[in-house]
Amino acid sequence: MTAQDALSPSQEDYLEAILLVQRDQTVARARDLVERLGVSSSSVTGALQALAAKDLINYAPYSFVTLTPEGERAAEYIAVRHETLKRFLAHVLGVGAEEADESACRLEHAIPADILDRLTRFVEFIESRPKGGPDWLAEFRHYCDGFGAPEEREPVDDATAGQPACLRDLSPGDQARVVRVTGRRSSTKRLVGMGLVPGAELRVERVAPLGDPIEISVRGNHLSFRREEAEEIAVELVARGQRRRWRGSRR
């Protein structure tokens, strides 16, 4: 693949585009590429000449463009790479389809072949595991949903992670996971029914003026309750809240 190694990102895009156009309509013209890639005809001419010089395409000015066998191999590889990245972003990370496509376009040029290979296998692995598979992916995505955009999450503090605590004692910014429900007061049962089951992850959003009641987010919902009502819910800390400047999170 030495010829391919020497290709610039934009040349790779051209090859990919030619392949796609060919699939749609058998032969490609220069102006199809102008449309698809959004570049000027002079750029197209220059690129096509360079590709022809590398024996990847058959081209003569003002005529059709077709891929040589070697060109076809290269283009197919590029397309597969794009698809894999797109699958990874869309199916595994749960990013929206359009965003995935755009990001894949940018990422694909930076990925060396062996890493791509691994990534492909990873995606296949994830998608096919019987115990993982779609369920596992869904869980991962829900986990992502639980706490909003990544930059809002404080880093997991090894010193505090796993520390047992009671829900009533938490402070704004603390993140915790419900461990046990130790009693059966009606307020406890109600909290459990609203999502504070063992295993649920929550974050303390804020407190009221007198420090009581507190507001937490769990499963994307915001709940508020008095501290005394949370007595019977034992949690373990995942991260402690950092002191925030009142203008907002650290940026």
């Binding site: 749960g94 929206g96 779609p134 369920d135 992916l137 869904a138 869980e139 995505r141 829900h142 992502c144 949903d145 909003g148 955009a149 046990r180 429900v181 130790t182 009693g183 059966r184 009606s186 307020s187 049962k189 109600r190 909290l191 459990v192 029914g193 609203m194 999502g195 089951v197 063992p198 295993g199 649920a200 959003e205 804020r206 407190v207 009221a208 003026p209 007198l210 420090g211 009581d212 009641p213 507001e215 499963r219 994307g220 919902n221 915001h222 709940l223 508020s224 309750f225 008095r226 009502e229 009142w246 907002g248």
Partner: protein, 680 residues
Amino acid sequence: MCVALAGNPNSGKTTIFNNLTGARHHVGNYPGVTVERREGVYQHKGLRVATVDLPGTYSLAAYSIDEVIARDFIVGQRPDVVVAVVDATNLERHLYLTVEILELGAAVVLALNMSDEAEAGGLRIDSERLSHLLGVSVVRTVGNRGKGTEELRAAVNETALRGAVPEPLRVDYGAAVEAAVSELEALAETVGDARLRFGVRWLALKRLEQDDEVTQWFEGGGVGPQAERVTAELEATLGDTPEAAIAQRRYEHIHRVCGQVLDGSHHAARTPSDRIDRIVSHRILGLPIFLALMYGVFQLVFTLGEVPMGWIESGVHSLGVMLSGLWPAGADSPLRSLVIDGIVSGVGGVIVFVPNIALLFLAIALLENSGYMARAAFIMDGFMHRLGLHGKSFIPLLTGFGCTVPAIMATRTLGNTRDRLITMLVAPLMSCGARLPIYALIIPAFFPEQWRGPMLWLIYVIGIALAVLCSKLLGTTLFRGSAAPFIMELPPYRVPTACSVALHVWERAGLYLRKAGTIILGASILVWACTSYPKPPAGDTADGEAAAAYSIAGRVGHAMEPVLRPIGFDWRVGTSLLGAFAAKEVFVAQMGIVFSLGDADGHTEALRARLRHVYTPLQGFCIMLFCLIGSPCMATLATTRRETDSWWWPLFQTGALTALAYLVTLVVYQAGMTLGVGVG
């Protein structure tokens, strides 16, 4: 055919109900409780469908009266279809109730509400997959825009026609729990209750969750101890309470379902809400913002309301004049007196409140529908709780400073019966606007200029202090035990739709007019009769005082004198207080009549002079105290009766407040007399 709507509060259930039934619905109370009952009717393909909007609940666990009613309705009344309304942007939590309903074995149609918001936020829901996984029809709705209503009716029709009682949903609760469930099912079957309304599996699960009603059922069936043993063993095995384990499994089941049905994520709704909350619910800023908003609401209701109130007042007056003209001038017809002094002024006195009430409910509807009300309760609860009240009691009590009637109506926002009743009972202690004329009469009569402001302030503060004391007292005696939890969801902020707000206001104002109006009409006539009859024999000097003394009210006043003396009152005050029962402002008018000054309006100074002549400052103060605390007006009584759907509470309210007034005034008067304060 009968259809019930169930769902979380904030799921948009009521909007869907309104969409289905149009204006053809009726709001009442469930018998004997303060829970609202909404039912209506719609037509679909020639079929008449009775619809009931069940109280919004988070689960069927029956910790509060709302949940008990919802559960009993679904199982007892066996509606043909239950429409479970869920918020598509919050599917996991909302499906919890749906799953419980499915476990009950009801025929369900799922209304995926707010589906537009979900899509706008980037969430895609595979409704077909969802339908398949849950075994129910799924209809996408957008309640705010009325979309999906027709499809919902069709789905309901189809589900009802299918007829067969569906197999209740089975969630796998894990080996340990399932074993316990089987044991309990066997026990339940031995009870052999012919009235078995619930399936045995459901009964077993609820027993494990320590549900009160079901536990009693097991006990009643003679298998209480065995059931207890099974539950205790399960708890020992799990290390967790069974109800937590069961809830956990339910959520896991829902989670798996959602995983296969949801695509994309939904951050959109929360982030703007979060940004607003950072300021509005801020630990330090939140309170001032809330107070400023409340001030704004107050201004809106009582200042803006002045204008239409003025129109109505003059309208009523004109009506009186016009009707008066129907009789020959100078005629002293009792009928005319009845119509004008009794009916027109009595009913007019009620109608004049309507702008106030409409504006108040407009404000409340806006605050509630936008989601701000929950934040207000969150901010205020810390303070209120220490006073023995609930965060949500703040707004009704604040409203009471204007008028007690809308304050009592505003307690509807309190979901919990106990808090609601306590708030309703103490609301009259918030010195209302109608008492101001009394204070305005008495304070300048007895107190030098620099004392007047502080005196007024003192009266208000005494009212508030007593309200706090009474609510604490009520909390520990009559309403002991079930201290209402504060647990509350904070929904994302939404823009209230003009339609739902308008409908809400229309409903409340209409209710007020209808119910309070009928009672007040009757009472007005009664009071008028008591204060006008019997008239002194013709020929006697038309002396106001003597005429007043001759009437029933006057005689009662005289008869009460022995009781009134210890608190410093005489028969004149007693008579005026009786008149004040109709409306507090009447007190001043009656005093004028009793002191032979005719219509007291233009004669305030003269009246004050007479008062100064007859009473001491101490007595003046005691009169104000009594008016503050005791004998809530007729409108209050009527409204309490309407809101509690019983006669016991309003009677208790009146009796207790009057007794309290007597007691406090007694103590103050006697102490004052003994210490020689204010008797000069």
